[in-house]
Symmetry: C2
Subunit: 561 residues, 2 copies
């Protein structure tokens, strides 16, 4: 603990060593929620996937059996178990059986290219890989490279009949099928492992962040953090009993925003889906009477604008949606609302176990117009219950005023801040300073305390001494009907130091000129914020679909030079 | 922590000392929820009492000011601040400002006699006493005794205009009025103390248990336990946003079952009431649109059977009620249900911060009859989310089978088990054994895992080698229309070792003979469980209304001898 134990009065002398008895001190771990839910609601459906329905009792039995199976592979305690999989039941179960077996879960972004996956397997020192057959080709170079180095990574294969493709399994790769390992190590209640851990601060998972440049960084979570994330999300999102949850968020993102554990704790029904396809999502929403889901704004966008979008997502009840990332456009929010969806915007980073700010709805917002509501809800909000403190630090390391204008860097303190970056002291040191985790995101605080992101620290444009938010210009550009995608970066400028340079991809069949877009921006922005230049064309992106601003910055520099 | 840190692979070497940075390790404390709620919902009503309404911002300001006021009295850190008060706003606020000031909260049962109060003030080494003027006479002997010993306890007086009585303040007692202390130390946001603590295992409160014999024991709670109690209650009871809570549970019982902090975390509105009087409760339920309250079965009984009972407790919505203690009779449960009240039965002890088992409703119960539901809901249930494990231990220290018949002692493990008894190593040692806290309560586990209390260990009757639950016989007696109150204890018996002896107080105007009641019991119980003797008359009780079985046991022994 960061501070020494305080000195207590003599009154407490006889209790000095009493606070860590096995009866009154239990290490916090989110895997304990599975055991409780399976005990209480054994017959309720826990995990649903196409025609598979596993009750909570079956889910527990599968996880316990797989933990035994994993232990049988002869790996050392705390070995890294990497996972490259879609949102199928096996992926869900891995969030319990990997820690249950005493090992550490490392889910990998399925959109990454083979080279980065290979790098991750090597960097995280993976002892085993749980891989979906369709994704096996992406993992092969990594598996072979490890083998060549003498590390024969154990491969557990998810061979899903619902897969679009079933690539051949090369002869040089030894795999055991998930279902076989499960069947071979089938366990009954008397043989179950305890869902306890020795140390709540020991590693639970490693989540690699896909930065927009360079190699990803391995963010380490511990059991205490994920336990508090679970309970804090229940309180902050006011999750009711038995939520019907649709797993649209990839579980490889911050352990699916921790919802694996949250929905288990509330004895929900978790509907898995392999591919995100709007009509399938709409069907599941109605069939499964979905009450909760999460998704990036792009998912909301896709749902709201799909031709097959139903009048109501689920005619039975309100659908609660947690969304994170850039704020969804007001029109999308309004459309989702019309479809019976209550959207809560949140903010977080891989480094903070996912969401730590939430646009908590205010009772007073109910009297406001749809437009005002969209504005209010588009902000990232206030701290979740498990988040101790969030401040916006100005350049003097002092909190900025809550004036809705002065930008500061978001700094965070709480038990859901990562332990640090794996094998990367430099990056860890840079992230932790003065008792805060420094997010690199710039934001303003409004008078009501709600935080609104303005930019990544490195994406800010400083023109004539004025800070300009690239997001603000992008938002203005998006209001033009012709703009499909937009990204704004700084461009060196002789007079002003920097000036905004906009890269725009027009919608199919739409046209717009540079002058037209600059003129359009002037309708929405102060003059000094207008783009100095607009360049048309496709935008470069990372494997995860993030726009590579550093590539654009290089282009802008060349154009200026 | 109970175990040493596990050895991690070299992969984690650079993170070895990283898990307790000020940014990623924050000591858990329930007082942090006040700061969050006041930040987010400053204008929502927080605490309501007659014509007083304090918003959350005002409540925070009052607590911060009182913490400063308390600190001004010159007490050492972790000094005991005793409180003898009704459920008024001051009592609520003490749950925040006492720990905020760095001191330890000791709420005292208002029904205790002056002698015991005096003993508690001395035993807990009270440095200050927050006392309601109406209760001052009960505290005077203790204050004077302390003064005589050279410990001049600081007295803070709650002088409530709503009190039934305002006894004179003796000249030898120096008091400062609550409102004066508050006004003298009024603080603004810039001066607020941080709602953080250095050590989550440091004492937060002392709650004396009123045993049925001997001096009470001082149960010590820590910040971590109460924080987890708060979040675990939100998850277990599925508390929604902004609950409208009526504080019928005395806050001196396990810190009001922890609901002070729970309702604060969910930004509820807490309605205080000084005296429990059915028509006043009904009025508040409707006026304040109450959605949640807690109460002993006697309170439900009183409400359900009151002449002025309305058709619906609150016509606007369901009222959720948490009840603890003896199971409410089926007729009371049915009546409450009819009045729009959803009752959840829980079990806990002062030693476990309050509730740790809950009769979690099963979706399948909705198809059952009202009678079956009452039976199912009358059980104490399964563990709350923050409770790690609950077992029923047989005489061989092994868990008993879940057959609904075999009794075992309830043992508990979890972070909401007390640190221990203050200055009482013997009692603490007795309560903690083999990694469990031993409750002294005997129960059975049903096939569905739900636990049902049968008796206190020391109240069990062993007749001819068979265990007989005194509660079972009492329940049978209560089914007789003439029985107002009943208590069964063991009576020495030449042949059987022990035999049940029933003490019965008849309802006003009702009659029944010994033979009639024994015959009645035979309709409901196995022959060997029938009372060997029935004695009529008023039952002796403690200050808190508990029947003094040890007095009855003495009587029974005399009668047998």
């Amino acid at each position: 603990m960061p501070t020494d134990k305080p000195v207590l009065p003599a009154l407490y002398n006889t209790l000095a060593a009493r606070d860590t008895d096995a009866a009154n001190f239990v290490a916090l771990t989110p895997i304990a929620f599975l055991s409780r839910t399976a005990d209480i609601h054994p017959q309720l459906p826990g995990v649903v996937y196409n025609d598979q329905v596993h009750t909570w009792s079956q889910t527990e039995q599968r996880c316990q059996s797989m933990a035994a199976g994993l232990q049988s592979l002869g790996l050392a305690p705390f070995s890294t178990v990497s996972v490259l999989a879609f949102n199928t039941p096996e992926m869900f179960e891995a969030h319990f059986f990997v820690p249950l077996s005493g090992m550490v879960l490392n889910t990998i972004n399925t959109r990454l290219e083979a080279d980065t996956i290979s790098w991750i397997l090597d960097y995280a020192e993976a002892g085993a890989l749980l891989v979906d057959r369709e994704l096996l080709p992406q993992a092969l170079p990594g598996l072979r490279a490890a083998k060549a180095k003498g590390n024969d990574i154990k491969v557990i294969l998810i061979d899903d009949a619902n897969a679009n493709e079933a690539p051949a399994i090369p002869e040089d790769i030894q795999c055991i099928r998930y279902d076989d390992l499960l069947a071979q190590h089938s366990r009954n209640r008397e043989q179950y492992l305890p869902t306890t851990v020795a140390d709540e601060l020991a590693p639970l998972s490693i989540n690699f962040t896909s930065g927009t440049s360079g190699r990803p960084k391995g963010v380490v979570y511990h059991h205490r953090g994920s336990y508090l994330m679970t309970l804090g999300t229940i309180a902050g999102w006011a999750v009711p009993r038995h939520p019907k949850y649709l797993y649209t968020v990839p579980m490889f993102h911050c352990n699916g925003w921790g919802h694996v554990w949250t929905m288990t704790a509330m004895a929900g029904t978790i509907t898995c889906l392999r591919y995100i396809q709007p009509t399938h999502v709409f069907d599941l929403m109605e069939q499964q009477k979905i009450s909760h889901f999460g998704g990036a704004p792009i998912v909301l966008n896709m749902l709201a604008n799909d031709e097959a979008a139903p009048t109501r997502l689920n005619p039975q009840n309100t659908v609660n949606c947690m969304t994170a990332g850039a704020p969804p456009p007001a029109t999308v929010l309004a459309k989702m609302q019309d479809m019976g969806c209550e959207v809560m915007h949140v903010y977080g980073l891989t480094e903070t176990y996912g969401h730590i700010l939430q646009a908590e709805p205010q009772p007073s917002w109910q009297q406001k117009s749809a437009g005002e509501n969209a504005e209010l809800k588009a902000r990232q909000g206030i701290r979740f219950p498990m988040t101790d403190a969030v401040e916006l630090m100005g350049s003097d390391d002092q909190p900025v005023p809550a004036d809705g204008e002065t930008m500061g860097e978001i700094v965070i303190r709480g038990n859901t801040v990562m332990t640090g970056y794996l094998k990367n002291t430099e990056a860890t040191d840079e992230a932790f300073r003065n008792g805060w985790f420094w997010s690199g995101d710039l934001a303003v605080r409004h008078a009501d305390g709600y935080i609104q992101i303005k930019d990544r620290a490195k994406d800010i444009i400083i023109s004539g001494g004025e800070n300009i938010s690239s997001i603000e210009i992008e938002n203005a550009l998006y209001k033009h009907p012709g703009v499909g995608e937009a990204a704004v970066v700084s461009m060196p400028h002789d007079k002003w130091g920097e000036t905004p340079c906009a890269f725009v991809q027009l919608r199919d069949g739409q046209t717009a000129t540079e002058e037209e877009l600059i003129e359009h921006c002037l309708q929405h922005l102060a003059r000094f914020k207008r783009p100095g230049k607009v360049i048309f064309g496709a935008l470069p992106k990372t494997a995860t679909g993030k726009i590579q601003k550093y590539e654009l910055r290089k282009k802008a520099e060349k154009l200026a030079g």
